[in-house]
Subunit: 188 residues, 2 copies
C-alpha cells in the first residue's frame, strides 16, 4: 500500500486536521482534504474508510501493542500492574506528538459523532484488556474492574498530558495518575 | 403534566420496552407504542422527546439525587467516600426493578445509537460528579480521577447486578465493588 505515494497517509492526516480546525469537521469534504494533500480522493480512500477514520486509524495498533504488553507482564504481576504496562504501551503509540494529539482532541471534542466514536473506542479497549486479564487467569469480576479502572486512569492522564504546560511523557503521567489512584483509594 | 392520563408515562414505558424486545428498536414506531399503551402519539410526546428518551428520562433525577448525596456527605469525607455516597443514591433511583433494568440493558446493548447515548450519559455524569467534588474543595486533578473511577465502579457494579442470579440490592453491589477496587489498588 502507498509505495506509489510516499508519505501520502501522513500528508492526508495533516491536511485533514488542518481543514477540520479551519472550517469545522462537518464542512470539510474528502475532496478538499485530498486536494490540500496533493493527491486524489481515490488515494484518500486507499488509506482511510471515511473522514472520521483519520482520527481513529491508530486504534488497531494501539490495541495490539497494549495487549502484547499485557501478555508480556510477569505472571506474578498483580492485575493493575499488568494493566499499567498495557497503558504505558498505548502511550508509546499516541504519545509521540503532543501538538498533533492536542489538535485531534480539540476537533473531537467539538463534534458529537466523533466524541461518541471515541467513547466506543475506549469501551472496546476496556473489553479487550479485560479479556487479556482473563487469559492471564484473573477472575472474571476482577478483570472487568481492573480494565475499567485502567481506562479511567488513561482518560484522566491523557487529558492532563494534552493540556499540560510542561513536557512530561504521557507514560509518566499515566504512572503518576495511577499512583494518585492508590492514594485516593487508601485514603478512604 | 399527565393528570388527564393517569399512569400514561409508565404504561408507555412498558409498551415501548415490550415492543423493542419483540420487534427491535429500529422497527418500532412511536405510533405502535402509543397504540399498545392505549393513548395517542400526541400523549407519547407529552412524556418523551423521542423513542430513545424512553430509556433516558430518569437521567435528570439520577444526576440530581447523586449530586445531592455528594453535597450531603460530611465535609471531612475523603473524595472517594463522597463519590460512593453519590453512586449509592443513583442506585436508589434505578435499582428498584431489576427485571426492567435487565430488559432496558438488553435493548440498549443491541443498538449502537443507544449504546452511544448511554456512554455519553455516563460521561456527563462523571463531569457533574467531578464538578461537585471541586465545589467541596477537592483539587482539580483529584476530582476528575475520583469521578472517573466512580463511574468505572458504577458500570462494573451495574453489570454484575443486572446479570446476578441472586437478589442483592444494587447499592450493596456498588459497595462491594468499591471494596474490591481498594484490594486491587493495594495489591500492586
Amino acid at each position: 500500500m502507498g509505495r506509489w505515494e510516499p508519505g501520502a497517509s501522513s500528508r492526508l492526516r495533516e491536511a485533514a486536521l488542518a481543514l477540520y480546525l479551519e472550517r469545522g469537521f462537518e464542512q470539510t469534504m474528502v475532496a478538499d482534504i485530498a486536494e490540500r494533500a496533493g493527491v486524489t480522493a481515490r488515494t484518500f480512500f486507499r488509506y482511510f474508510a471515511d473522514k472520521r477514520e483519520v482520527f481513529f486509524d491508530a486504534s488497531a495498533e494501539l490495541e495490539e501493542k497494549s495487549l502484547a504488553a499485557l501478555e508480556a507482564a510477569p505472571a506474578t504481576a498483580p492485575p493493575l500492574d499488568a494493566v499499567a504496562a498495557a497503558l504505558v504501551a498505548a502511550a508509546e503509540v499516541i504519545g509521540g506528538n503532543r501538538e498533533l494529539a492536542r489538535v485531534r482532541q480539540a476537533v473531537i471534542m467539538a463534534n458529537a459523532s466523533l466524541r461518541e466514536r471515541e467513547l466506543i473506542k475506549l469501551t472496546s479497549m476496556s473489553v479487550a484488556v479485560a479479556d487479556g486479564l482473563r487469559r492471564r487467569g484473573v477472575g472474571n469480576a476482577e478483570a472487568s474492574l481492573a480494565a475499567e479502572t485502567g481506562v479511567a486512569v488513561f482518560r484522566v492522564a491523557f487529558e492532563r498530558w494534552v493540556n499540560a504546560a510542561e513536557d512530561r511523557a504521557l507514560g509518566d503521567v499515566i504512572r503518576e495518575t495511577l499512583a494518585q489512584l492508590r492514594t485516593l483509594t487508601a485514603a478512604s
